[in-house]
Subunit: 548 residues, 2 copies
């Protein structure tokens, strides 16, 4: 039996009972640097959220109820609000104001591939748009309840499809339903001494089907691989019927259909079942910090480790701005204590660049990788500052989204965006995207803080993860956000980056996807959609515009 | 400047000047076991090969000559014969008899992406089928000059597109034209202390564009990854226009277009340029042999190493039949000397299973992996027999296709086929495919030898590579081959294997591909082809039938 997945705050991130995480000194720091809103801006009450009246044709609604049982077709206010948006910045701005960008007419809870398949076929016939809804954690508008030209839109909520279907220990493979949440799967695997090793920042809520559909990467993906390396087999319901691909370890049987469904973001169908590669749970886990005098030196160390195949499972390197900010926000007793900072400053690391390295595996393996990492750090003029910083990072690894909610209350915008490129282009891309963000914020009259870290490391390149913080332009929050997003997206493509390394495309990155893969590439994906979803009901308005 | 690639024997494999490789004792062994033909069957003379008259419409031919220059549009007998087939068993049977299954009307030599693109557009307009031709090493009919419903068929020979376009050392990436041959690329990289690490048995002739188009794996792919892990960027000419994908290390920007073009087997377009990941050339390279008492014990050792992430770069494990055959063919002074065999027999390895393990990397890394491998071998009751067997295997690693040619002269059929599946299904699949091959050969009245080895190892499973040897049914060679191939293919799918782990689909595996990916999956690929190649000129009759 699948356990019931947790519910999030409808207006923001995470556990409704979670305590505040923003320390007073951090708020003061932000007040001094970017400025706060003139007054606090809490979310409206749930009952004051404006939704359009549910508008499914009565006949379709009756048929859907007949299919799933009346209790599994919900259209009450709370349920519709909970499925009205993902967790991107514009989503939260709109939800907190009580004005979400639409809502599903109904929320459907199938419990099996067969039920999901039947829903798609019924919706195709009745011209009802379908938005697959896993954890609902998209930060790119991936679950926006857009109906396109259809008569209605439903959220296909996978909460009842969270079962472990089978563990093949010998093959190190687990079969699950697409709606299983990452923590539930990790708990099930931990009982067997295994782990999936997929820990995105959204870990606590994310579904594995959703991860696969969006090419998710986790914090430890440098070691465990991103989700596309874990997905061996897939079962996908599409309006045209089922695609089932067996969990073979590798195949040369034609174009990579698995990799086509991975990343399809609900626009071709719903991933109802997956077979995932699992690993032995690590016997040892050591996270520690290191300091480099600058970003380039840290990059060189990570690049050397990648090209020597000696990477930690997590390798995260903050630029100077992010390092300064991390130290400021962490305050006393945080990442590095006062004495430590004085020491670092004395040694010339001012601000320097903080790296967090995570070693996991058998004791011998983790030890060996640590030695290799220490050598690379030393070669590049860095110093290891020990486990304190590493463990502090680990404790807070999932809290950033909570912080964002609190800052929104104070009228402060927080947005993140990310890319990846070759090593040879990384420095220039870091500079140009930073400049684009800073310039756009200044042009909005809200100069802000922007900062960046390398989040994932490969032999041939790395990802860059940017965070920007600025005072909100009250009443023009979306325009402000859009201006920054456009400037950053343009700079990313101009600098040879991909528009997204792990956030996916959703609604927000559509214009850049088309530029990145070109008109012929986009045409190929549209042809595929036309074949699998001829009525165009699957997650309309995401990934690619329907017109060429 | 690209160097001119080597030419193969038109009737078989490899260097025309290569000396015979079949030892007399091996021939005697085969005479006793499967039997030889009643008389020797050498290939006919080149001038006696029957070809259809070249039949391109004169206007199209003139336009093609205008495009590429007259010297780069060839339709002489020798050139057409050289492009009349790949190197599969039925190809060689037909070629040697002077009766190839058609021939291209002309062989075109573009020198750039732009020329290749222009050829495709011209051919689409003129309804001329295009068969992209890299190394011409396909063993599954991938370069068969089929014209489908078109007015003619040309081979698009990439021999003039063999340039290294640029090395990005920092990013460990090399950009090449699609026609570059593997040895030429390795030579260029060796000068920089680098390697691609892709060594299929066809290494000496294979083109990198062809490798990408067919999802090739090499002998060391257990360590270096198969070609799909090396291809970062791609430029592909399709009749609908160009698709260019930048060499980013990873991306979440929608469905995996790179992995869709990798494995497209020339049916969507021609891969004209690639960016490939390279690695430091290994400082140490040790290949050694080991013996296990049976196939299951050897599998267990490899599985443990895979799941501990301690694999050698090459891990090859022969079953009992292949071990017996290897020892018999190698003769004295071969893999294991007489004294060694007596010792092994005494220890209970009779015949036992021979494994070849290849360790490459920095000296420390190779040493560490060897220790790990020794421990796994010991745990599973195996023994290391030292470098002699490993080096002997390495010396002969590319000679099997030469052997096949000589056996064909003696009226003996040799065919190979391969698959991959999860560890939990591997044993049963080995048994059932072996039985299917043996049964089919017996039913043909030509009982033979069949044998197998694990050729590539993964955390979740492994590949199985089967070789079968039998006396040819003279005059019914193709029917005999087809019967065995069908029995094996059916057994592979029934046992949960993929129809091909690294030989690709081509013409020979088409019926099974459709079964493996299902009607909806096949429909998706057909829609894609329809979009990129609306006239259906690209490599017709391969991968998927044009009708649903």
């Amino acid at each position: 039996m699948a356990e019931a997945p947790p519910r999030m705050r409808w207006w923001g991130w995470g556990d409704p009972a979670h305590p505040p995480v923003l320390p007073a000194h951090a708020l003061s720091f932000l007040e001094e640097t970017v400025g706060l809103g003139e007054h606090k801006r809490p979310p409206v009450a749930l009952e004051n959220v404006h939704l359009p009246a549910p508008g499914l044709p009565a006949e379709a609604l009756a048929r859907l109820r007949g299919l799933l049982g009346a209790g599994n077709v919900r259209d009450d206010h709370a349920e519709r609000v909970l499925h009205a948006a993902g967790k991107g910045y514009p989503d939260l701005v709109r939800l907190r104001a009580g004005e979400p960008d639409g809502a599903p007419d109904a929320v459907l809870y199938p419990d099996s591939h067969e039920q999901a398949q039947a829903v798609l076929e019924l919706c195709a016939e009745a011209s009802i748009a379908v938005v697959p809804f896993g954890g609902g954690t998209s930060v790119v508008g991936g679950v926006a309840p857009l109906r396109g030209a259809h008569r209605g839109v439903i959220a296909l909520e996978l909460a009842r499809m969270g079962a472990v279907l089978g563990l093949d220990r010998r093959s190190a493979t687990v079969a699950v339903q697409g709606g299983i949440r990452a923590p539930a799967l990790e708990r099930a695997l931990a009982g067997e001494g295994l782990t999936l090793g997929h820990f995105p920042q959204s870990f606590e809520y994310v579904s594995l089907g959703g991860c696969a559909a969006t090419r998710s990467a986790g914090q430890a993906s440098t070691g465990y691989g991103a989700i596309e390396e874990m997905v061996l087999g897939l079962r996908t319901a599409t309006p045209a019927g089922e695609i089932a691909l067996a969990p073979v370890p590798a195949t040369a049987a034609g174009p990579g259909l698995r990799q086509l469904l991975v990343g399809s973001e609900g626009t071709l169908g719903v991933i109802t079942e997956l077979a995932l590669r699992v690993r032995l749970a690590p016997a040892e886990r050591v996270y520690e910090g290191a300091f480099f005098s600058d970003f380039a030196a840290g990059q060189a160390a990570l690049r050397e480790l990648a090209q020597e195949h000696a990477l930690p499972v997590l390798a995260r390197l903050s630029d100077e701005q992010e390092t300064r900010m991390s130290l400021a926000l962490a305050g006393s007793g945080g990442l590095v204590d006062r004495a430590g900072r004085a020491y670092l400053s004395l040694r010339g690391y001012r601000p320097g660049c903080l790296a967090i390295l995570g070693f996991e595996g058998e004791a011998g393996e983790a030890h060996l990788r640590r030695s290799r990492a220490r050598a690379a750090i030393k070669r590049n003029g860095g110093i290891v500052i020990g486990r304190g910083a590493g463990e502090s990072w680990r404790r807070g690894r999932f809290t950033a989204p909570y912080l964002r909610d609190e800052l929104l209350t104070h009228g402060v915008m927080v947005e993140t965006l990310e890319t990846a490129t070759q090593w040879s282009k990384l420095d220039a891309l870091h500079t140009s995207v930073t400049a684009a963000i800073d310039g756009a914020l200044r042009a909005c009259g809200t100069p802000g803080l922007s900062m960046c870290h390398v989040s994932h490391v490969y032999e041939t390149g790395a990802s860059l993860y940017f965070t920007l913080i600025a005072r909100q332009r009250e009443g023009e929050e979306i325009e402000q956000w859009r201006a920054v997003k456009a400037a950053a997206g343009d700079a990313i493509l101009a600098g040879g980056g991909t528009i997204t390394h792990h956030h996916a495309v959703g609604r927000d990155h559509m214009p850049w996807l088309e530029r990145e893969i070109g008109g012929v590439g986009a045409g190929a994906l549209r042809a595929l959609k036309q074949e699998l979803d001829p009525a165009g009901i699957m997650n309309p308005g995401k990934l690619l515009s329907s017109a060429g």
